[in-house]
Amino acid sequence: MKEAPRWKRATGWVDLRGRREGGLAFLLMRLTGIGLVIYLFIHLYVLRLLAQGPEAWDAFIAMAKSPFFLALDGLLILGILYHALNGVRVTLLGLGIGVPHQARLFWGVVSLTLLATAIAVYAIFAITG
């Protein structure tokens, strides 16, 4: 069904106009997914410091305990939790389970994500602080 130019088709899923919970959940799933892939690459790249010996790694660890990095960790946990919990939701829905409750499930996922992230962030700052 040719209609839109390629760039428009490529970004069609970003267009939230007229969409509801399900569309929003899908968009967030993709955005967190892309974010986590980028993180994975960075993470693996950073781990190379381990190969350079104790000094390089422990210096990095010290830096990673700065409040700025810890805040980034909070963001990471937010992304992971959403992606994981919504992943469970999408797997069930994808098998036709719980479709009538999909919007409520989405808000459940969001609340749980926010709650768990809040706890995790608190814990991170408590441990390192």
């Binding site: 040719k2 007229g18 098998l95």
Partner: protein, 239 residues
């Protein structure tokens, strides 16, 4: 009688479309299709829009109302406020022919490929005695092929080869009651990267469906069946 402000997408292919406002005087009990038909009858005869049955049976009058897919004939004006314009645009993911008109033939050809008859066994009569001369109660399929689900689907936005919610739901209907159809060929069609597996469960198809089809659940059932088939082939395939 209130005056409603309709903002209709106007234009023809080849020129850039624009939104134009039309005031329409109608009672709050009227429907959006009445407002658009009245604009055509009294203000601008060049307005292109599809409509036929005016009671959600033909599926012709699908548009986007304030961004959301609706059938104009069952969208009551009382849902809106006369102070705020009602934006009406054509469906997405179909070739645009002008104003609110799109070409639905790509979808229809895909549905024709599935070829399920529009008549089904009537579940209401399953447990009841039937009048003499009638062996089996029949009624129409729920799907009215309006294309709202295709317009709302974010995967459809990107993948023009995606079978789409309506077609997948039709395949699932056919699977659950194959009658004389070639089920194997259709299930092969669904078991494809552009078939049932392409769905990302954004659930918008079911959210906009005006006719109780629930394509999202149908796709889920279809997947469960395809997975069970695969497992059967891998493990119990000997028989």
């Amino acid at each position: 009688m209130p005056t409603w402000q309709l903002r209709l997408l106007r234009g023809r292919p080849g020129s850039s479309p624009r939104l134009e406002t039309y005031p329409v005087e109608l009672p709050a009990e009227a429907y959006l299709i009445d407002a658009v038909e009245k604009i055509w009858a009294e203000q601008d005869r060049s307005l292109l829009f599809r409509h036929a049955c005016h009671h959600a049976s033909c599926g012709a009058c699908g548009v986007r109302v304030n961004g959301r897919e609706r059938l104009m004939c069952i969208t009551p004006l009382r849902e809106f406020s006369p102070d705020r314009p009602i934006r009406v645009e054509p469906l997405r993911h179909f070739p645009w022919l002008g104003d609110l008109l799109v070409d639905v033939s790509p979808m229809m050809r895909r549905m024709a490929e599935v070829g399920f008859a529009i008549i089904r066994r009537d579940e209401l009569t399953a447990d009841r005695p039937l009048p003499e001369g009638i062996e089996q109660g029949t009624r129409f399929e729920d799907c009215i092929e309006c294309g709202l689900c295709l317009s709302a689907c974010p995967v459809m936005a990107a993948d023009e080869d995606y079978l789409g919610p309506a077609t997948l739901a039709a395949i699932e209907r056919m699977r659950s009651e194959p009658r004389d159809r070639d089920a194997a060929r259709l299930l092969a069609l669904a078991d494809d990267p552009h078939g049932a597996w392409r769905c990302h469960s954004a659930m918008e198809c079911t959210a906009v469906c005006p006719s109780n089809v629930d394509p999202a659940s149908a796709i889920g059932r279809l997947r469960r069946w395809l997975i069970a088939e695969k497992l059967r082939r891998w493990f119990g395939g000997g028989r």
